[in-house]
Symmetry: C2
Subunit: 329 residues, 2 copies
DNA sequence: CATCACTGCTGAATCGAATCAGCCGCATCA
DNA sequence: TGATGCGGCTGATTCGATTCAGCAGTGATG
């Protein structure tokens, strides 16, 4: 313990404490004494007891991360990776809990985290959406991850879906596409990804004097993507560029296109959103606008621990992950 | 704080403490007093300060979970979900850290967890394999998750890959397959999934007087699956049943089969391992022997917190997740 | 030469629980 | 009647740090 270090160095625990907390200069401790204490620390392999420290300081060098199911789902778990790494860089650890969407479990998790004096809480959702900050987090330092609360001015970290929409269309236009259809429509009212991507898509087309040629309505699953695209093709649907709202949808669309004898990218170009591993598994590999999950998670933790952060939403750019689904010119 | 509760109830903090720690009977505290204290607790909304408690008891109601990259990869993150839920059920929280495979980062994470007095550490790997327990965990209560240390008799939780191999082949045999090929071969010497699955596969075939007809060698990626299977088909390869070592490989095999005009399951049946979401995305949906990640994670935490656990490996059964890739008879 | 400021350090209290070693009063027993 | 036991509770210490208030010694200042 600290007392042993102090004894070994021949100083008081107070002095040792100041030195270990980087307050040596402030407290005018002589370099000689500092050296003695550091030597003692190294000698004894001293490691502070975090519980004791937390008891006094009410800080634990720990951040909470509550989510609905970001670990459970395939891709979004990158947010955890990013959060974990960023926390480590700032000498913190992540305490995580998954509610699976159950509000009561969520309440319990938050309560347990606060009991353990986490220095702040990241509240994350698997799907980009609007949320209401849980009661238990009111007054608690927190950052929203992949979601926003329109009623509160909270720090919030989300992907830049509008910019992503621009990028997706820009990729198609650069390949010469002029007849662009969109596949997928977000059915959940709170979800933000769909509408924002659509905003970007339309704006980028408008900048070239175009608009979308049409919308193939379906939700964001492989089977829906397949069926909706099949129906569209069966009805004589045609396009030279397809924007799919996510990679799974695109996979379904690929299946439908193949069944109708259409080749990607020779007959039409396809771009989608997510940049998930799936994009790299399809043939041809899918050009997809990447959700920067790890960055989102890391930024959320950094903002949480940045005392100077003054709230508001930060949108992280989405980059185009090149595949082979857009025709080269 | 506890002192307030005691004051409100008109008893000493000692008494209140005993009651809240379930030692009322042992300490012969009268029911009347217990009731008073409980009322005061409810009244004041008392929540114990965990740091203070930890300082005395050296327990934090927290478990560490260090992994290489189980969050980072798509499917295995289910282990986190399971661990989180099991921890909650036992009134614990999970402190997680991802090393990304970097031994130095792993060391740091473990050190930080121990400093924070986690009650134990789950050491998890993304890929089922043998490992050596990290130095920092020697003498620390720990459970291996999805890995085993052959040199130590540690509690370890892994999927039953041998049983999975049996199940995969049983499914094919039940569909009438007699000419069974295996696609995929584990190139990493420490990996255990491949060899064990192969053991089960051969044993189940042997039980029916058969053996595998051949092995299509490749590592476990979509592109390798595609290329290796394509080569095999080009060389005149034929089978009525294909066992793919994982779902990604199977996806590659699907692509190759389609290119060669072979239909699943009409021309041959396919089973694979993982039971990942991908299996449900393929057409036809893939019959796959599921890796029970959530169960594995949950069991690891339960064993970690079970003082009566005496070590040794527990293999969790792998169930067949039915798709449409095996011919019905 | 008294006052003052400054340097370099320390003693003691504090955070909020857990827990050991009793203590008081009353019934029982020889 | 005095010893003994037990039911029901409490005082004081402890866990290991942080931190406030303050105290010697020294040199400068008026």
């Amino acid at each position: 313990m600290l007392a042993d270090v102090a004894a070994e160095a021949g100083v008081s625990p107070t002095t040792a404490s100041y030195i270990l907390n980087g307050r040596a200069d402030e407290m005018r401790i002589s370099p000689a004494t500092v050296a003695k204490v550091r030597a003692a620390v190294a000698d004894l392999g001293y490691r502070p007891n975090r519980s004791a420290r937390s008891l006094r300081t009410r800080r634990t060098a720990t951040v909470g991360l509550v989510s609905d199911r970001i670990a459970g789902e395939q891709h979004g778990s990158g947010m955890l990776t990013g959060a974990s790494l960023a926390a480590r860089e700032l000498d913190h650890l992540v305490v995580m809990g998954e509610s699976g969407g159950d509000p009561e479990l969520e309440r319990l998790l938050i309560e347990e985290m606060l009991e353990r004096d986490v220095d702040g809480v990241v509240y994350a959702t698997h799907t980009a959406r609007t949320v209401r900050l849980p009661q238990g987090l009111r007054g608690v330092r927190s950052v929203l991850l992949n979601c926003e609360d329109p009623d509160e001015r909270l720090p919030s970290v989300v992907p830049d879906d509008v910019g992503g929409g621009h990028a997706a269309v820009a990729t198609l236009l650069a390949a010469g596409a002029r007849d662009v259809w969109v596949v997928g429509e977000d059915p959940v009212p709170e979800a933000t990804a769909g509408p924002r991507r659509m905003t970007g898509i339309r704006a980028e087309l408008a900048a070239h004097g175009l608009d979308i040629s049409g919308l193939v309505r379906c939700d964001w699953s492989v089977t829906e993507g397949f069926e909706a695209t099949s129906r569209w093709l069966a009805d004589g649907g045609r396009a030279d560029g397809l924007v799919c709202m996510n990679d799974r949808l695109a996979m379904g669309a690929y299946q439908a296109l193949a069944e109708h004898g259409l080749r990607v990218p020779e007959d039409l170009s396809v771009v989608s959103f997510d940049g998930s591993p799936l994009a790299g598994w399809l043939r041809p590999q899918l050009t997809s606008v990447e959700l920067p999950f790890a960055e989102l998670g890391a930024l959320a933790v950094r903002r949480l621990l940045d005392a100077g952060d003054h709230g508001g939403t930060v949108s992280v750019p989405m980059r185009v992950q090149q595949g082979g689904s857009v025709r080269r010119r």
